[in-house]
Subunit: 203 residues, 2 copies
Amino acid sequence: MPRRIDAEARNAEIAAASLRVLERDGLSGLSVRGVAAEAGIATASLRRAFPTQHALREYCFERIEERVTARIAALDLTGRALVDELLAQLLPLDQERRSELVAHVQLGVFALTDSTLRPAAIRLSAALDRGCRTAIAILADAGQLDSSRDPTYEAQRLRAVLDGVAMYGLWSGEPLESSRMLDTLARHLDELGQPRPSVASSQ
Amino acid sequence: MPRRIDAEARNAEIAAASLRVLERDGLSGLSVRGVAAEAGIATASLRRAFPTQHALREYCFERIEERVTARIAALDLTGRALVDELLAQLLPLDQERRSELVAHVQLGVFALTDSTLRPAAIRLSAALDRGCRTAIAILADAGQLDSSRDPTYEAQRLRAVLDGVAMYGLWSGEPLESSRMLDTLARHLDELGQPRPSVASSQ
DNA sequence: GTTTTGCTAGTACACTCGTGCTAATACCTG
DNA sequence: CAGGTATTAGCACGAGTGTACTAGCAAAAC
């Protein structure tokens, strides 16, 4: 038969172009014409791969998760070092990660008021939850989570700290901010290895 | 002279309508026609108060800060109870606060790729920073922040936890989530009153 | 070669957007 | 009452949007 195209590679390029557009122009730039121009293909070609812009937005969510997952799977570390690097894959520390985070946030906020996109956003959020639970479990296995700590709670708090630090880091976007993000997170993790202070009043 | 109008009350109604639209329809709904329809006024009237949509978006930022500040100033509490309620004003615990947070997030994400709106977003972010520093200071004054804690770091971490918890709470939006948000935050604050575990390795 | 298919360029429709403008109406002040 | 202003409805422009369609080109399969 005729002319087989590598659909996967093309979709990847479209997704990469989408992320670039999202970071540069925001959600309003994620239009059929805008993405096609950024990817250097015709709008008709883009619409062949993604007949509707909803499909494109959904695919961006999947692609973000895939990219982060792939980077994490490639880590050859254990214990606390693995946790540090795992969480660092979700911080805007370089162009690639910043681009992903901006795109994620743009689409996620859009999903707040678009019920058809909510499932995709929730899927990605659930993946982040799993990542945080995994991080806490790794710490526990490595003896870096004190037995007085509640793993479920710490996973939730870690998720909050991670999201908060990442969002905050989006605003200045300077290398100075990078070390501050990493420090904040590292200092938080340091505490988890120590016994949880007794809840009895200190007064 | 003729027909004096209460510009302040009108602007407040426009801002309230803007927040309603932002929560229901998202950023794309914050159009001249959309807001005017929601506020029940003519588009020409809206454009008299805010000649450009940029002015409207900027005013939304100011109004959000004003509303939160007013609620916090009305709190008649001290110590830890004050801190709890202060932080609770920034969580999506009811319709009013959820509406503010959604609007804040929508505009904030837009400001990521709109340099003209960045100053307004950064102003609001700075106000949140001050709030967190104030919260930590109140705890310290009340003897609920152990002397081994670093107030600057704890203010930064509190900001992250607060933002993270609030964002996470936006997704389910159920009362069950409300208590979880409050619990996570309270448990974090509980720890701050206790001595910081020594940073020496526990292994 | 021919055929079959993917890709492209280009056009078109109906819609919404921000932004201006005009003319008329409602309403308060003096 | 009259005078003057805020507000209104409505139109218009250029631009951008999602979506849809056609005709033609390029390349791989037979």
